[in-house]
Structure formats: C-alpha cells, structure tokens
Amino acid sequence: MRGITISGCEKCDWRGFPHRYWCPACGSFETRDVVVDTGVVEQATEVRRAAGRAGDSPVTIGSVRTDGGAQIIARLEGAAAGDSVVLHTEEGAFVARAIQRAT
C-alpha cells in the first residue's frame, strides 16, 4: 500500500512518528493521523548480523525525512542515502523505494 501513516497536530504544523496523543510542540490535545508517501533518505545502513537471524540475507535500513518533516525509519529497497523515495506500508513495515538517484 502506498503511503505511511504518521502523526500530526490539528493546531500547528508539527509532524512526527510514532503517534502522539498530545502535540509535543504546542500541547494541543488534538492530534490526527497523516498519510505521507515521499521523503529523502538521510542515512542508510546494511544490517549484516542480527541476533537470532544467522543466515538471513542483509537488510538495508534507512532514516528518511518525510515531506512535512517527520523522520521515520524504513527498509530501503533500491534506495541509498541522498535518494528521494516513495514510501509504502507492507505487512506493517515502512518500505522506501527510490524515485531517482541523487546527482
């Protein structure tokens, strides 16, 4: 499914993840779900070893600044640091795929 659900304030322009009940920026009690589907990869790391996962193939994890400002962590598929990405939710996981390579 294209897009990921993040959290946003009804009263100010704060955006973030995970869901907040009260806005950390302005203290409003009114927050809502916001769907975003694009962003930029800021860091990427290849996870080569993980406890309980010997033998699994490496996974690339990225830190993505989504349009609107919320910073999330996603699995990268065909994307690297600097790339603009499209964001998807697949079986509960945030997945980021490159739109274009950074020049």
């Binding site: 950390p24 790391t45 290849e46 070893r49 993980a50 994890i61 962590i73 509960g92």
Partner: protein
Amino acid sequence: MQALITGTAESPYVRHPGPEVTTTTVLVDAARRALADAGLAPANIDGLGVASFSLAPDHAIDLAVRLGLRVRWLMDSANGGASAIEMLQHAVRAVEAGDARHVLLVAGDRLDPGAFVRLVDEYNSVTRDSLAPLPTGGPNAVFAMLTQRHMARHQLGREEYGKVAVMQRSWAGANPGAVYRDPLSLEEYLRAPMVADPLSIFDCVPVVTGADAIVVSAEASGSAVRIRALKALHNYDNQDGDGLATGLRKIAPELWRESGLGPADMEVVSVYDDYPAMALVQLEDLGFADDGDIRRLIAERLVTRDLPVNTSGGQLSAGQAGAAGGMHGLVEVVTQLRSAAGARQIDGARVGLVSGYGMVAYRYGACANVVVLEKVT
C-alpha cells in the same frame, strides 16, 4: 543528613551461564556481596529497588519476599541504562527524608539468546510494531545511523570510534571482572566483521549474564561516597532531533552549578557506552569537550588517560548484563572513589561522575541522567 553509598558489588559477568543460573540467582548473588561490602545484614535493609528486563513475572516485592526483607521503600525500574541513577535518585531522597535507613539497589539479567531477541524486538510498542517488522534486528541499525550522523557532524572516521573501543579494552586488561580483557589493536578493530555500517562487532556491547548492586545508607561504618549533585531529563527533544544531544546537554549547567564543580574537576568518569558514539555524545553534552573538538577529546584526553573514562573497560569490554549496564558504571566509579579498584585504581581519586542513558523510544534513547560523586571517608 546526607545519604551515602556504603557498599557496592558485582556478581561476576559470564558469557555462558550454567543451567542453574537464573535472573533471580544473579540478583541475589550481587545483593549478598553488596551487603558484605557494606557490613550489613538482611535485617538492616529497609529499602529495595530492582532493575531487570527478565525478572518478570516477578517484581521487586517478590525479590523482597525471597530475600526475607521487610521494606519501607520499594521500587521497580524499567528504564534500562538509566535505571541505576534513577533508582539512586529516589533512594537518596528516601534516605534523606527518613523513609529508610539502608536501601539495597540491584540490577541484572540472565538473557539467553531467545530471551535477548524477544527483548530487543518487543522493547516497546513502536519497536514491536514499526522497527522489528522491517526487520531492524535490534538497536544496532538505529545507532549505526546515529553514528553516521555523529561522524558527519564531527568530521570523524571509524578510527576515532576504534580508539574509544581500544582505550576501553586497555582498561579492561586490569579488570579481572571484565569478560573481554585481551588488548585490542586499532587494526583489529578496523578489520573486524561488520554488524551494521559503520558499526563492527567491537562497537556493540557483548551480552552477558550478571548483576550489580549498591547500598544507599543514612550512615556509614566504613568507606563511603556522597552525592554532590544528581540530575535527570527524559524525552528532552521529543524524538524530533538527531540523537547527537541528550537531556544531559540541558541539565549539565545545573549539575555543575549545584555540585560546585566542573568537568575539569572530575578524576574518574563512567558514561553509558552502549556504543562508542553515545559515550562521546554524553562526554560532549556534559562539557568535557568545550571547544567541540571530539577528535582532540579522544586523542588528548581519553587515549592518554588524562581523563579516565570507563575504567572497568565499560560495557564494551566488561559486557552488558541487561539492566545491570546502567549500574556497572556507577559501581565502577564508587569503587574507584573508595580506593578499591586494584590494578586499575586512579590514585587519589576523590571526585567522579556517572551518566545513564537509554530506552530507545524510536530513533535514539529517551532517558538521560547523571550524578557527581565525592569520596567521604
């Protein structure tokens, strides 16, 4: 009346505990050693605090029952690397308010591989729901990206983090309680197997089984340490930042003002070393690199031992026994201030600092606290 730390102990850390070892048995072992160190009997203990990831379904009250302790003060801490200083914060106030006379604080875990995987994958709801499914495989990926940001901010290469790991391993060589004691060379660090770029196996704490304990008392019969100042600030930036500053940055000025001391007065330091970058972040937050030059901090103060940091070897070399990790550094600094550190003793150390950090809320830790300690007797 000022509360004092009158006893410390560590139940020896092991990589592969026997089947008879449980989380409860290691906590009990640390507790017994700490009582002996403080010169106390169970009947003297009227307060108990416990930090453990794996004691469930038991809690502090259950451990009090198993130890036959009748307590006027009781707490459980679930705050990982910040739990020891958190419990110390509350125990000191309790003793000074007259709620208890001798408070025992214990922290530790036996985490078999399966329990460890469950712990890191279900650490909190956002990890369970949004990180484990990727899969991130634990916090290493998150701190790998934080380390990349740190490298970019401070213009550092992997060598600098290697120097921190090598420096701590050299201290571990003089600590019989450390699990990894053989000297580590920078070459060995740089060619070590990678875990999550740029972190190698030597950037990640080895998981061990063990426990630590301290006693906080209204009076001392032997050597004791007092608290000059203790501060905490949790969820400092609402997870909206880059993780390269913790709550310590905000509370450091208050800490130094209240303690009447400054970074230059510290003779021995323990910072929470879940990763070399986080040790450096805490040192910077606390004011140990006031020119912001982290490369110079490493080369001129840490590697030279001009500023003794993580003198037990830290978690990176001694091991992380689950929730004991936060108390390990506290036990080490108190041991140094009580002149009981043996071959790794900092001669004449009278004043030291310990910081706690942890509880990865999504992109980095949300808890941070710090204490300045002074030798009394």
